[in-house]
Structure formats: structure tokens, C-alpha cells
């Protein structure tokens, strides 16, 4: 197969005449670049040069213990709801691809509801669960709902139930991306359908699932900021609390933004590393999906 890069390199290194770039094109692209830099510097000048941002406040609060607590809470919310959603999402995906129409319908309805209503509404709903369900009767024990539903548990519940719906679709997409011929080959060597799914299909589906789940994790990391409305002290909740006392609203929002940027950047690095590892595991230059099956 000939790719664009092959053509480009043969132009400059092959035996034929050397073909140069059009001179006009270079002047135009330089002009565009200069203009773009001017616009960016202009905007930065308006923001920084106005002189009302107290950078020393940002430095003072960035590593403050109360701030680090908020960061830890954000991480905890992300990791716990992600892990729980991996379990519920797998269960829902198994229900959606199962032959049982009742299970399929229940899973579809779940996804329809949790994807179709705003996350913020869901979080507020769980926080106020006690309003219409004052008591929970679980296995003979009666528990007051308000003693269970704290800002943290309501946040976890809201995030995890919501992300599970998306996780289910990610996992299902990964399973469907594996050719049915793989299942048939696995069955033909004597595997039961369950073993074929676990030993043959799932390991291949992981290659599709992990990158998509990584994007989901990064979205979730930022979506955790929504739970400040119910008083959870994660990053945004923490800076709001501080700003209410010292009135440095913009400075504290910058502290929050910087922390989110740090966390998201680290997560993105981890994701790239994971994807590179997965691509290497296949033992070939190309991943299997890109291979013409002939």
C-alpha cells in the first residue's frame, strides 16, 4: 500500500527530480502564524496586564492543606466511582448483549434514564433522597436515609450511577468491535460461550475499551466539580469555601483550574502510556483492527 508519507519521502530522497514547496504558500502560512500569535498575546495582555489578579494569593493557597484535602476528595470521587462503574457497567453490558429480553430491556431503560437526564439533576436528587424516602428497609433493618446520605455518599452515588450508563456503552462497543468469527473460532475449538467471551473476545475488546474508558475517566474527573452544589468539599467546593471568606474569587478559581489541569494532564499521560503498551502487546506494527482481513 502506498501512503501519503511514502510519496512525500520519495520526492525528496528518490532518484527523480527534487520538487520544492510553492514559495507563495510559505509566505501565506507565515503570515497566518504571526497573526495568531498577535491575537493570543493580545488576549493574555488584557487578562494579566489589567493588574487585578493577586498571584501571591494563588501561590499561597495552591499547596495549602485544606486545598490538598479537596484534591484528595476529587481523586477519591473519581477513582471510586470509576471502579464501581466498571463493575456495574460490565454487568449492564452483559445484560444488554444477553439473549434474555427482560434483562436487555432493564439495561436499556437504565441507560436511557441515566444518559437522558442531566448529571447535576441526578446528584441533587440523590442528596434529597430523604425527602420522599425517609427510611430505608434493608433486610429487616430500618435505617434513616439522612444518616446514609451525606454530601460524600450522595456525590459518589450520583457520579457512579451516571458513569455506569456510559461505561456500559463503552464496554458493549468494545465487545461488538470484535469480529463474530473470533467467537465462532473459540466455540469451534470447544470453548463454552462464557469461556469464549472471557478468554478470546474480552482480551481483544480491551484494546477498544481502554482508550474510550480513559476519555470517560477524564470527563468524570472534571464532572466531579458539579457535586460542590450539595456541599461536597472537593476542589471546587473547597475554593468556593475559601473565596467566601477572603473574597479572592478569581484567584481561587484559578487555583481550582490549575489543579484540574494538573490532574487531567497526568491522567492523559497515563492514558497515552497505556495505549502505547496495548499497541505493543499485539506484537506487530499495526493493531489488529487496521489489518485487512485477507
Amino acid at each position: 500500500m502506498t501512503t501519503t508519507t511514502d510519496i512525500e519521502s520519495s520526492r525528496t530522497t528518490g532518484p527523480g527530480p527534487r520538487i520544492h514547496r510553492r514559495p507563495g504558500a510559505r509566505i501565506f502560512s507565515t503570515a497566518v502564524a504571526v497573526l495568531a500569535i498577535a491575537v493570543v498575546l493580545g488576549i493574555a495582555g488584557i487578562v494579566v496586564g489589567s493588574g487585578t489578579i493577586h498571584w501571591e494569593i494563588i501561590a499561597q493557597y495552591f499547596f495549602a492543606p485544606v486545598m490538598l484535602n479537596g484534591v484528595a476528595t476529587t481523586l477519591m470521587l473519581t477513582v471510586v466511582s470509576l471502579a464501581a462503574s466498571a463493575v456495574l457497567g460490565t454487568l449492564l453490558a452483559a445484560m444488554r448483549i444477553s439473549g434474555n429480553p427482560v434483562l436487555r430491556t432493564i439495561a436499556s431503560a437504565y441507560i436511557w434514564f441515566f444518559r437522558g437526564t442531566p448529571l447535576l439533576v441526578q446528584i441533587v436528587f440523590w442528596f434529597n433522597l430523604g425527602l420522599f424516602l425517609p427510611r430505608l428497609d434493608i433486610a429487616g433493618f430500618t435505617i434513616s436515609t439522612n444518616s446514609l446520605i451525606t454530601p460524600t455518599t450522595a456525590a459518589l452515588l450520583g457520579l457512579f450511577l451516571n458513569v455506569s450508563a456510559f461505561m456500559c456503552e463503552v464496554i458493549r462497543g468494545g465487545l461488538l468491535a470484535v469480529d463474530t468469527g473470533q467467537t465462532e473460532a473459540a466455540l469451534s475449538i470447544g470453548m463454552t460461550p462464557r469461556r469464549a467471551l472471557l478468554r478470546i473476545v474480552l482480551p481483544q475488546a480491551i484494546r477498544v475499551i481502554l482508550p474510550a474508558a480513559g476519555n470517560l475517566a477524564i470527563d468524570l474527573l472534571k464532572a466531579t466539580s458539579l457535586v460542590y452544589v450539595i456541599g461536597t468539599k472537593e476542589i471546587l467546593g473547597t475554593v468556593q469555601g475559601i473565596a467566601a471568606q477572603n473574597f479572592y474569587v478569581i484567584e481561587m478559581l484559578i487555583v481550582a483550574s490549575l489543579w484540574y489541569l494538573v490532574l487531567v494532564s497526568v491522567a492523559s499521560l497515563g492514558q497515552s502510556w497505556l495505549e502505547a503498551r496495548l499497541a505493543r502487546g499485539i506484537g506487530a506494527a499495526q493493531p489488529p483492527a487496521a489489518r485487512p482481513n485477507l
Binding site: 465462532e184 473460532a185 463454552t192 482481513n293
Partner: protein, 261 residues
């Protein structure tokens, strides 16, 4: 007392199969004797793949009888009644039937050796060392001793199909099913796959082969079945069906596939 059915590798009688409202198999009668290389030829859509897939339960059938190796496919005996076979029983029966697919269906995340030994290791639970030893023998048998550590994406189509054949015969199956094993191959790669199949037939492997390679069927086949419209239209020796058929449908089909385009 042995029942006469045990003497056959495959025996089907009045086999019927529908997909929804569309009937694909209209009562197929067909027998494969042990050690036979049996060929199935016929036009596209006549039900050849469906027939083959019924033999190892990749499709269920909804009428007639299908016996493989002495058992009734899809069923097990409970006292004097037949009940639907369990998933585990079906799986263990499939382990005794090899299948070679048109598009190879090798596991892309496993090397050739791992592919060939997948059934031995993951289904029959053999020790890796013993399984890999057997796997290397099998790869040598299909002429790929030196490609044991290659992944499918690093192999040509012909090589991939030879690995797939080695995988299909790894567990000493009582029969191997081939569904158009050379149809997805570039013409220059067809020969190496047919050579491996020829060797298997010579070693007495029971084979049921769907193919459009008429001259190969003529050379290697013990018997040829011509399927048309979901029924066996004609069965007999290769020369009887391919050279001296009186059936106008057979003649028409053969004329069509011999004239490419």
C-alpha cells in the same frame, strides 16, 4: 450391540433449517463415512455453510435428524427422552470437530503457536510444555515450523489458513469441516493450502469440504455432493458428478463456475 449410526462420521436425514420465515435447508440427506474426503459443491446461497455449521452446532436445526460420531446433535438422552444438550456437552462435542473458516479467524493477539495450541491449553487443560511440543509438530506438518512466534498479521493469507488448519486438527478431531478455505486467498496462495488438505486426506482424515475448487474435489474427493436450493440434488463419485452428470442443474452450475466472470 452397536447401532448402525455409530459407523458413520456424519449422518443427516431430512435436515431442515429456517432463518425466520426463510427456509434454507429443505430436508437434506447426506452421509459421511469415516476416513472419507467428502465435498459439497453448489451455488451461492444454496445452504452449504448453514449445513456445515449445523454439524458443529454453530447453527441449530429445526427438523430432521443429524448424527455426528454416534450422537444426536443438539440433544442428550435422559431416560427414554431426548432433551436439549447442555452448553458444556455441546462444547465438549465441538472440541472433537475441527473447523476451518473462509476468513481464517485466527486469534490476532496470539502467535501461530499459541493459536494452534489454544484448544489444548484452554479447553483440554494440557500442560503448556506438552501442548507447545504438539503445536510445533502441527506447525511442521503444515510447513510453518519456522513461523511459530509470528502473529497472524505478520503472515500471508495462505500461511494464516495453514495455521488455522493446524489449530483445527490439534485435538485429533473425528472430522474436520472446511467452509470455502481458499475463497479469501489470492490465487497464488491457494495451492499451498490445498497441498496441506491433500496431505490430510491422504492420511485418512475424515473431511467435509465446501469449496468451489472443482478440480481439487475431483482429484482428492471420495464423494461429491451437489447441493441446490437447500437439498442434495446429486451425490456420487467425483467423476460421476463432475464429469458424467445427467442432472441439468449440476451441468449448468459447473459451466458457470468454470467460466470466470
Amino acid at each position: 450391540m452397536t447401532t448402525p449410526l455409530l459407523d458413520h462420521a456424519v449422518r443427516m436425514h431430512g435436515l431442515q433449517k429456517s432463518f425466520g420465515a426463510v427456509r434454507v435447508l429443505h430436508g437434506v440427506d447426506l452421509t459421511v463415512e469415516r476416513g472419507q474426503a467428502a465435498f459439497i459443491i453448489g451455488p451461492s446461497g444454496s445452504g452449504k455453510s448453514t449445513l456445515l455449521r449445523c454439524v458443529n452446532s454453530l447453527e441449530s436445526y429445526d427438523g430432521g435428524e443429524l448424527w455426528v460420531d454416534g450422537y444426536l446433535v443438539g440433544a442428550e438422552r435422559r431416560g427414554d427422552r431426548w432433551i436439549e444438550a447442555s452448553a458444556t456437552l455441546t462444547a465438549s462435542r465441538r472440541a472433537r470437530i475441527g473447523m476451518v473458516f473462509q476468513r481464517f479467524n485466527l486469534f490476532p493477539n496470539m502467535t501461530a503457536l499459541e493459536n494452534v495450541t489454544a484448544g489444548l491449553r484452554m479447553v483440554l487443560k494440557q500442560e503448556s510444555k506438552q501442548a507447545f511440543e504438539r503445536g510445533r509438530e502441527l506447525l511442521a506438518r503444515v510447513g510453518l515450523a519456522n513461523r511459530a512466534d509470528s502473529y497472524p498479521s505478520q503472515l500471508s493469507g495462505g500461511q494464516q489458513q495453514r495455521v488455522a488448519i493446524a489449530r483445527a486438527i490439534a485435538a485429533n478431531p473425528s472430522i474436520v469441516l472446511f467452509d470455502e478455505p481458499t475463497s479469501a486467498l489470492d490465487p497464488e496462495l491457494v495451492g499451498e493450502v490445498l497441498a496441506v488438505m491433500r496431505d490430510l486426506a491422504r492420511d485418512g482424515m475424515t473431511m467435509l469440504i465446501v469449496t468451489h475448487e472443482i478440480s481439487f474435489a475431483e482429484e482428492v474427493g471420495d464423494v461429491v455432493h451437489f447441493i441446490d436450493g437447500g437439498k442434495v440434488a446429486e451425490s456420487g463419485s467425483p467423476s460421476a458428478v463432475i464429469r458424467h452428470s445427467n442432472n441439468p442443474r449440476t451441468a449448468e452450475f459447473l459451466a458457470r463456475i468454470r467460466k470466470p466472470g
